[in-house]
């Protein structure tokens, strides 16, 4: 009874999270003494997954899924689950994948957990560690029944190179009209920017920046670091920045390797959404700002002085270190 992993791609290219979940699935399969099989949809090079220990890839060349469709993706996954007899299904935490996986779980009446941060503690019974209470706690959750669905947190497990030869097979599915009852009519997405979900580094600004006219500080710093930009809730409520940049408990979750918070006080609801980030740097004029208690590195100072200098020094650093 294999482990099945859904490896998401965009315009034919695998997302970074696809390699993370592939690594997770092959390690899990190893510990269960079984095989990991990947499903990709319209991927240009499905065999790339071999680098992460996947020896068998089912690729669905499916024109109806050229644009993402959640129910269609779930329906396809359900067919792969039944064909492969998968015991566990591993998926990522991207917005699209979570959307499709919740539908799949309903189709299969399966136990499903999200925000899983490590390999199962035990596989008999299957118990995983996940964040709960918006990062204020962890839960150890038992998945009963088969199949069980594990949604792995972005950036939590990382990638593990373990090169094997991947055998690629075509998979074709049948759909019903109700699989396509929701139709996309327009996508509005900045294609040249890293997204908060995919970014290794996120640079975030709060009310301490005083106004939208000062956001060049955040954008310039993000550019040097190849980072995504984010903001606190009041900043988006005030219309200084788009809502899509709002991070925290009621906004987007952040689980990057590096999170730089500039002029953000560190309210409990903000921290709840960003605490999963590995390294946190805070720049704030107020030494009593609560964020310092949650941070790894801090500079007590004025953003308008510190950030321009940080940008210059980082440029020098990048020039030297490539």
């Amino acid at each position: 009874m294999p482990v099945l992993v859904y490896t998401e791609s965009e315009k034919g290219n695998f997302k970074k999270s696809a390699f993370e979940v592939a690594s997770y699935a092959s390690e899990l399969a190893k510990s269960m003494g079984t095989e990991a099989i990947a499903l990709s949809i319209n991927a240009d090079n499905p065999s790339e997954l071999g680098a992460y220990g996947i020896s068998r890839v089912l690729n669905a060349a499916e024109p109806r899924l050229a644009e993402f469709n959640a129910r269609g993706t779930a329906s396809l996954l359900r067919q792969v689950v039944s064909e492969t007899g998968a015991r566990v299904v591993v998926t990522s935490s991207s917005t699209d994948t979570k959307y499709a996986t919740s539908i799949l779980a309903g189709m299969l009446k399966a136990g499903y957990v999200n925000n899983v941060v490590s390999l199962p503690e035990t596989t008999e019974p299957l118990v995983v560690k996940r964040t709960a209470f918006s990062n204020k706690g962890f839960a150890y959750t038992e998945l009963k029944g088969e199949p069980a669905i594990i949604g792995v947190s972005n950036n939590a497990f990382g990638t593990l190179e373990n090169s094997v030869e991947a055998q690629v097979e075509a998979f074709s599915a049948t759909f019903s009209d109700s699989d396509f009852g929701v139709k996309s009519t327009a996508v509005d997405k900045a294609s040249d920017k890293v997204t908060i979900a995919d970014a290794d580094v996120v640079v975030s600004g709060g009310r301490g920046l005083k106004g939208p006219e000062n956001w060049n500080l955040i954008e310039d710093l993000a550019e040097v670091l190849g980072a995504a930009t984010a903001c606190s809730k009041p900043v988006s409520d005030l219309g200084w920045r788009p809502h899509s940049e709002h991070v925290g408990q009621t906004g987007k979750p952040v689980a990057s390797n590096l999170y730089i918070a500039i002029g953000i006080s560190g309210a409990i609801q903000h921290l709840a959404g960003v605490n999963a980030s590995k390294t946190k740097v805070v720049i704030n004029t107020d030494p009593e700002a609560p964020f310092f208690k949650a941070a790894d590195y801090g500079i007590v100072g004025d953003a308008f002085e510190v950030v321009p200098e940080l940008i210059e020094k980082l440029k020098e650093f990048k020039a030297q270190n490539g």
Partner: protein
């Protein structure tokens, strides 16, 4: 149009999270419970459909009697009727099955749930319901317009947004954006008085399996002290991020 808003009863966002001494349950001592913020945006959008398009709005919660203040609050905000499914909300699939039963019996056209509950962070109940009921479903929904049985929805995607067209019956997983923060309503005295007269039906759960069980909880390890860097010495920060944290 008949709307059902699914309300999850969650600890207030400022709550400190503690677990019982054997770490098997969430310790609710001193915790204030509120309408899940994502559901509050949905409920407020439902009020708009009620006032502008004549919709009827019911709210439903799976929970024990302790969730009734949250249902009453939803009624005080303006929902017409409340339903409580009298069961401990064991896990996503169990809750979805209970709510699907209410939807089927009540003949709702639009079901508004939230993107996720801020306590268990499942992010799954509305999607599961959509599969059980074979209904159209839009997740991370930030805008919703309805004309006859046609719906235009906008959903948040990683890095942007997508506009979708679909038909009723429809389920959405809503979040901030469905209405603005400033549109959220605090129940007034009149609303609270009227809520007392409104119907709150308690129904028994249907037989349903669960798929997961939280066996124990743990608090995050306490964080080490922050390393403070002199603003005159930014090189040190870069050095630390490069050599110690290895993130640049």
């Amino acid at each position: 149009m008949k709307i059902l808003v699914c309300i999850s009863n969650v600890p207030d966002t400022t709550s400190k999270i503690n677990f019982t001494s054997d770490n098997t349950a969430f310790d609710t001592t001193g915790v204030q419970f509120v309408i899940n913020p994502n559901d509050e945006f949905g409920l407020t959008r439902a009020m708009w459909f009620k006032e502008k398009q004549g919709a009827t709005v019911h709210v439903a919660t799976v929970g024990t009697a302790s969730v009734e203040p949250t249902i009453r609050k939803s009624l005080a905000i303006g929902a017409d009727e409340g339903i409580r499914i009298d069961a401990e909300p064991v896990d996503g699939i169990f809750v979805a099955r209970q709510l699907a039963e209410i939807v089927q019996k009540g003949g709702y056209d639009l079901i508004i749930a939230g993107r996720e509950s801020i306590d268990y962070n499942g992010g799954m109940v509305p999607g599961m319901m959509s599969a059980m009921l074979d209904m159209n479903f839009v997740n991370t929904c930030i805008s919703l317009e309805i004309e006859d049985n046609k719906a235009t929805a906008v959903r948040e995607i990683d890095g942007g947004k997508e506009t979708l067209e679909t038909t009723l019956p429809l389920i959405i997983g809503g979040q901030k954006g469905l209405v603005e923060e400033s549109d959220l309503r605090i129940p007034n005295m009149r609303g609270i008085m009227m809520a007392r007269q409104k119907k709150l039906t308690v129904v028994p759960p249907v037989e349903a399996a669960d798929g997961t069980l939280d066996v124990r909880f743990e608090k995050p390890a306490p964080k080490g002290a922050v390393k403070l860097i002199d603003p005159e010495n930014i090189d040190e920060l870069i050095e630390l991020l490069h050599k110690e944290a290895k993130v640049i």
